[in-house]
C-alpha cells in the first residue's frame, strides 16, 4: 500500500514533485504575506504609542483602528 503510494506505478517522482511544489508555494506565500501583515501591524502600534493623549483618543474613536490594535495584541 505504502510502496504503491510512493512509487505511483513509476510516476511517483512526477506526482510527488508536482504536489510538493504546490504545497511549498502555498507555505511560502502564506508566510511572506503574514510577515508583511505583522510588520504593518507593529508599525501601527509603534505610531499609535507615540501619539499624545488627545490624538490617541481621536484615533481610538475609529472602529478600524481599534480593530487593528485588538488583532495586533494577538500576534
Amino acid at each position: 500500500m505504502i510502496d504503491k503510494l510512493i512509487l505511483m506505478n513509476g510516476y511517483g517522482a512526477y506526482v510527488w514533485s508536482a504536489f510538493s511544489f504546490t504545497l511549498i508555494s502555498f507555505v511560502t506565500l502564506y508566510f511572506v504575506t503574514k510577515l508583511q501583515l505583522s510588520k504593518e501591524q507593529k508599525k501601527f502600534v509603534v505610531k499609535f504609542g507615540s501619539l499624545n493623549v488627545e490624538k490617541a483618543r481621536v484615533a481610538r474613536s475609529q472602529n478600524s483602528n481599534r480593530e487593528i490594535l485588538l488583532n495586533t495584541s494577538k500576534i
Binding site: 511544489f21 508555494s25 506565500l29 503574514k34 508583511q36 478600524s64 488583532n71
Partner: protein, 235 residues
C-alpha cells in the same frame, strides 16, 4: 451601493475572517489530498500521472479567475472612480500570480511523462506564460510607481489589456492544434471526466479557492493598515 463595501466598514470582518478561512482551508485541503492521492482511481492511459491534474487544473482555473476579476475591477475603477476596486485588485494579484506559476510548473512536470517533453511552445502553454508576464508587470507596476493616481491608471491598463488573453487561453485548444486535449469539463454540455475524478478535482478547486481567499484577506488587511498608518501621521 459601494458605500457598504467601504474598507472601514468591512475591516471588522476582513480582519477576523482569515483564521476561520485558514481552518476551513486546512480541512478541505486534507480531504482533497486524500481523495487526489489515495482514493481516486488511476487513469487507463496515463496511470498515476493523472493525479497531477488535481493540482494543475485548479491552479490554472484560479489564476484565470483572479485575472478576470482584476480586469473587471480595473474597469470598475475607471468607470466608478472607486479606489477600493484598485485595493481589492492589488490584494488579489499575488495569489493569482502564484497559482499561474504553479499551473506552469506542474503542467511542465505532467508534460514529461505524458508528452515526453518538459516544455512545448503550444498555444495553451504559451498563452499561460503570457498571463504570467501580465501578472508580473501588474505586480511590478505597484512597486515601481509611487504616485497613487498614476499607479492605479497603469495597473488598470495592464489588467484590461491582459484580460484579452483570458479567452485566448480558454479557447486555445479549440482554435489551434495543441498538445492539450479539448476541455473535459463543461457547464453547458456533458462532462467527459468520470465522477470519481470530478469529485477530487472539485474538492481541490474549493481548497485552492479558499487559499486564494485567505491570501487576499491578509493582503487586503495589510493594505488597509498601511493606509491607517498614513492616517495616524496626519492626525
Amino acid at each position: 451601493m459601494f458605500k457598504y463595501f467601504e474598507p472601514n466598514k468591512i475591516f471588522a470582518i476582513t480582519s477576523r475572517a482569515p483564521k476561520y478561512v485558514l481552518f476551513l482551508f486546512i480541512v478541505i485541503l486534507t480531504i482533497g489530498l486524500t481523495e487526489a492521492l489515495i482514493l481516486s482511481p488511476e487513469d487507463y492511459k496515463q496511470s498515476d500521472a493523472v493525479r497531477i491534474m488535481y493540482v494543475h487544473v485548479p491552479a490554472a482555473w484560479i489564476s484565470l479567475g483572479i485575472f478576470s476579476s482584476l480586469g473587471l475591477l480595473s474597469l470598475g475603477s475607471f468607470i466608478f472612480k472607486n479606489k477600493n476596486f484598485a485595493l481589492i485588485s492589488k490584494s488579489l494579484a499575488p495569489a493569482g500570480f502564484v497559482f499561474n506559476i504553479i499551473a506552469l510548473v506542474t503542467g511542465s512536470i505532467w508534460g514529461k511523462p505524458t508528452w515526453g517533453t518538459w516544455w512545448a511552445w503550444d498555444a495553451r502553454i504559451t498563452s499561460m506564460l503570457i498571463l504570467a508576464l501580465f501578472y508580473g508587470m501588474y505586480l511590478l507596476a505597484w512597486k515601481i510607481y509611487e504616485d497613487k493616481e498614476q499607479v492605479i491608471k497603469v495597473t488598470s491598463m495592464i489588467a484590461i489589456l491582459g484580460v484579452i488573453n483570458v479567452p485566448i487561453i480558454k479557447y486555445s485548444v479549440d482554435w489551434w492544434n495543441t498538445l492539450h486535449q479539448p476541455p473535459s469539463i463543461s457547464i453547458l454540455s456533458n462532462n467527459s471526466i468520470h465522477v470519481s475524478m470530478l469529485i477530487p478535482l472539485a474538492i481541490m478547486t474549493a481548497a485552492f479557492a479558499l487559499f486564494s481567499l485567505l491570501i487576499f484577506l491578509m493582503k487586503y488587511n495589510t493594505e488597509l493598515i498601511k493606509i491607517k498608518n498614513k492616517g495616524l501621521n496626519r492626525l
